[in-house]
Symmetry: C2
Subunit: 320 residues, 2 copies
């Protein structure tokens, strides 16, 4: 059996795992990413995680020979460079692969290291061992603070002409709509990003005076708390998730018409809401809006690998 | 030099051409497509065009060995079947390649015949010899009665998982927007399809009482007449094209974020409007709305092959 090391470099933590070719994680580790200490320190932290996983693999006679790293942002995977990352302030054209390699000891410092955008890595993880196993055309969507994504076509990550494709959060769903963090108007993220879900809930209760069991915790709302209230039958919370599903359904319809994918996989914290609550309205919207063949060819499913998709995907990319 | 026969099968005419590998059309012919006479008759008409072109090629010692046909609709190119075509009422799973072949005489009845969706063929024509020569990722948009399109990725037509990708007219630009012919709301086509451009002009003049030199020809408006009025400085006509450009710019922004193409090529009757009138607002919208790298990597240009793109593209596909 083949194994690789997968790394998911986030703004707060570095997750690492020893992953088999079948997507099993046989050892997992996590440390603080020290995001504000500069690229050199972050690279050293990544190397630490890699060395630890490598030590474990040697002790257990597990052979590994590749390393994959997933990072949010504009990643120039051919050069091993982070051009820009929203999680690391001030990073600009950081040669992360070289930095990590320079902190590794022999023999692992000579192993191939691949780096990939986290949305792409997640999509590839789901393609290999998750909800989208072997789909011809697969689009992944992650719902969190922002809305990210990845596209896999015929088993290959689709990156666009300059590595900035699959920005699913910034597909426009309402031309004259809400202002988005990116400066544009009417992006999907301006409706279903984490903070916007909370704001929309507050608006319904404060501005429109709707009754809700959430009324006494308006300052500590999270999508999870809203989803729980919906599960307990709260009308405002149900409405919020129905609307959220419809907004996502509009983007899913556009994607169905443009790319005609076999599968859209939805992951990220907000997708943890119960099936009926979120996936129901998404599927119903696509069925109602999309043309027949485009709708019929599409399955919309929940991500299977959860927050380990990036780690698994990075390892799979490294093994490829 | 290599040559192939390209056929553009439309609802009213069949255009055929003898096309060199460099995209030159050395002989072009056109006949009525007899769209209402049934598939057998249409196939015979196509065969006639092919036989004529072949006879010419033999007389002039031009060697051809492939035939390509472009048709609107859902085309199953692997099977040579027209699953459905908006231009041919009642056609359902028509084995057009077999029908055409059965009407051809030897030796041309044994030549390979490929069939392709017309938007895909046009995109491939523009990729090979038009405005998008050799772009890594190319999206084509045709503005006419409807809004069609095609996508070429790394030199290959991108068809989607079931041949219904690149339905650019049905990307949603306004979730709660105008009703589209497809039954959905807020599709691009519901704003910039030929009839909608005319209706929007009439609305401005009749409903909103705006002054325009078009006021005395409201029953015979065409996009061409409106474009001419704009060129003569008519405010309503200029406004119509500015808005049309902005609507297209919204879809172009979504495409820039999703596919990060190197190039969007715009063709079709309505794109014949002068550069400033239509392309200005499209480019300005993308620049304002899209994220920096996505906007910078994208060039938006006019189709070069005009209404011959489908014919040239079909021939190129056949030669491939």
């Amino acid at each position: 059996m083949k194994y690789a090391i997968g790394i998911d470099l986030g703004g707060t933590t570095i997750k690492g795992g020893l992953v088999s070719e079948f997507g099993e994680i046989i050892l997992q580790t996590m440390i603080n990413s020290e995001a504000n200490s500069g690229a050199m320190v972050v690279a050293e932290k990544i190397s630490e995680v890699i060395q630890d996983l490598f030590a474990f693999s040697q002790k257990n006679q597990i052979e590994i020979s590749e390393i994959g790293i997933g990072v949010a942002g504009l990643i120039e995977h051919e050069k091993g460079v982070v051009h820009f990352s929203p999680n690391f302030e001030g990073w600009f054209d950081i040669p992360l692969v070289d930095l990590v390699r320079s902190s590794l000891t022999s023999p692992i410092c000579d192993f191939p290291i691949v780096i990939e955008n986290d949305g792409n890595a997640m999509a590839f993880g789901e393609f290999c061992h998750g909800g989208g196993a072997s789909a011809k055309i697969l689009v992944c969507m992650t719902l969190g603070t922002g809305v990210g994504g990845g596209i896999v076509i015929d088993g290959e990550i689709f990156r666009g002409s300059r590595n900035v494709g699959a920005e699913i959060g910034h597909t426009i769903i309402q031309a004259d709509g809400a202002l988005c963090g990116c400066g544009n108007y009417g992006c999907l993220e301006a409706y279903v990003g984490r903070d916007r879900i909370i704001e929309r809930t507050r608006e319904k209760i404060i501005k429109h005076g709707k009754k809700s069991i959430l009324a006494d915790q308006l300052d500590n709302l999270t999508p999870k708390i809203i989803a729980d209230a919906a599960d307990r039958g709260d009308d405002v919370a149900i409405e919020i998730f129905t609307e959220t599903g419809r907004y996502i359904g509009v983007t899913a319809t556009t994607i169905a018409h443009l790319l005609n994918p076999e599968m859209i996989i939805i992951g990220g914290g907000i997708s943890a809401a119960s099936e009926d609550l979120l996936f129901g309205p998404i599927r119903e919207t696509v069925k109602r809006r999309a043309m027949d063949t485009n709708a019929e060819s599409l399955r919309i499913v929940r991500a299977k690998l959860g927050n380990l998709a990036g780690l698994v995907g990075s390892a799979m990319l490294a093994m490829k």
